[in-house]
Symmetry: C2
Subunit: 326 residues, 2 copies
């Protein structure tokens, strides 16, 4: 099933044998616990996701010579950490669907949802410990704090007010920090020196920033059926992402934008007009150009890393990030 | 302030210099994060608690020769793990007060409360990693999973239905697992062999079971003003603890008990009559006798551990657990 999801790009080929092991490792984390936890975990994992974080960790680690078993453990830890944050996010947002599948909070009580998220955090931490690397545990825990701090900052931020710096901080916390963890931790499990670890980290960072910018672009350009949520869902909630930020630079007093960011009720016509204007402006292309610059940075960082099939796959993956449609 | 709380017993004397370091270590965990997180953490830590878990970890570790700095880190990690679970617990229960202080969820949105709990988990994990002990990280993550699994089991359990085995599992997950972590982890940071680590673990386990049984007794015998919550609050929620379990053994068909456990509305008169009957029955004494047996077990385990002021304090602490009034 995981492979089906990824047939559009073949970047996981060199680690194809490891992906099912990551899946198995995640699914068994609720064994010997309450049966409903097992059901919840299976549901959460079945709801898909591109498994892009595990893929990046596996490819980076295999390229650099890490032990495959450790990489499987690390990848499962990272994907579960990601999953746990989504469980609490969806609860907080009251989201009913994620990638077209019912969220946990849409079917369970808030209490059960909070605790299931906590449980998944606990299992992610346990898996991280099983990599038997203390420096890895440090950055794992630090990344969790970064992600949560980012969510709290977003929660407490004034609606619609955002600078480029705020945006950069937010997407680092939300996405790039975990991509960076995936590549840095994989390198830390490999027989390589500090400089290579730093290059791997920076590669993951740039990939993560590009990934989130493209996500934010897709929120404006995608179709609801493809991206699995209403178009411009961020802006509807008063969240200004890069395309909107660029648009506001060019049109600082656009009435529909001001209406929507005011937090007062607005009708569909207002949003439709704004969306059309953003789509027709240069803002979308500027944001995609920015994402491309981050991908270019990532590709430059790859040059000094070992030439091998995984290296080629990481290049493909970087390009996929820019060209994906969902 | 911490010392004031503990003047009724002097068991922290041998680690008196370390307790303020634990406090400081905890308070600084939100530095360089969102200012409201700092406020929230300060509020959570000011709301008190007896700091019994840090005391046990510090005394055990100092008795066994652990490095004091590592013990401070461990103790802060354990108390923050405890704090994080309370934040989510109070949210789930809708509790407005804990130890007479407003809970976070009574003042903040559910979203902010969930995320603050997550943040405190993250900082606890970070501190645990800073002990630089991988086996310690393993048991730390495992304990978090045990605690959360216990809460989920309780959430999904049928009202009023409980066996002694269920009760034992619940209080292990709720309390004894963290006491056990405190003493075992402290021993693991000490230059001692496996047998001593196992004795320390079992000491913490027995202490934790006794502590929770006494907590459950105080829920029946205490005054609301002293214990900081309504008397028999567990039973009001359909939760059967050891005194109620013993009472039901002697009076299997007591009408007021059946009325309350049925989940249907009941008036104060029903609860008052049941409470009076439980207090006048032998159930309270039987539960206290059971707690005493666990304390006795703990004291026997101490015999083989080094004779020193910390050893004496751990004895005092074990006795305090039985004789405390809140």
């Amino acid at each position: 099933m995981v492979n089906d999801r990824l047939t559009t790009v073949n970047f996981i080929a060199p680690v194809q044998d490891l992906i099912p092991k990551v899946e198995a490792r995640m699914h068994t984390q609720a064994d010997r616990h309450h049966p409903d936890l097992k059901l919840a975990l299976d549901h959460l994992l079945s709801s898909g996701g591109k498994r892009i974080r595990p893929a990046i960790a596996l490819l980076t680690g295999k390229m650099l010579g890490a032990d495959p078993d450790k990489l499987v453990t690390l990848s499962a830890a990272i994907e579960l950490l990601h999953t746990a944050t989504l469980v609490h996010d969806d609860l907080i947002d009251g989201a009913l669907l994620r990638r077209g599948i019912a969220t946990l909070n849409s079917q369970w009580s808030p209490a059960a949802t909070v605790l299931t998220g906590d449980f998944v955090f606990a299992r992610a931490a346990k898996l991280a410990a099983e990599t038997e690397s203390l420096p890895l545990m440090h950055i794992f825990a630090e990344t969790l704090a970064t992600i949560v701090n980012g969510e709290i900052t977003q929660l407490f931020s004034s609606r619609g007010l955002v600078s480029r710096e705020d945006y950069d901080n937010r997407i680092y916390a939300k996405t790039a920090s975990l991509f960076e963890l995936a590549t840095k931790a994989a390198a830390m499990l490999s027989p390589v020196d500090e400089q290579i670890v730093e290059k791997a980290r920076a590669f993951g960072y740039n990939l993560g920033v590009a990934f989130q910018i493209v996500d934010d672009v897709l929120d404006f350009t995608g179709e609801q059926a493809t991206i699995g949520k209403p178009v411009a869902s961020d802006l509807r909630q008063g969240l200004v992402t890069l395309p909107a930020l660029y648009f506001m630079e060019d049109y600082p007093n656009f009435p529909e934008m001001q209406a929507i960011l005011s937090g007062r009720p607005f009708n569909d016509g207002v949003m439709d007009r704004l969306l059309k204007s953003i789509r027709e402006s240069g803002a979308i292309q500027r944001a995609m150009d920015e994402a491309s610059r981050y991908v270019d940075c990532a590709l430059v960082l790859l040059v000094d890393l070992p030439d091998c099939p995984e290296h080629e796959s990481l290049k493909d993956l970087a390009n996929y990030i820019i060209h994906r449609k969902f």
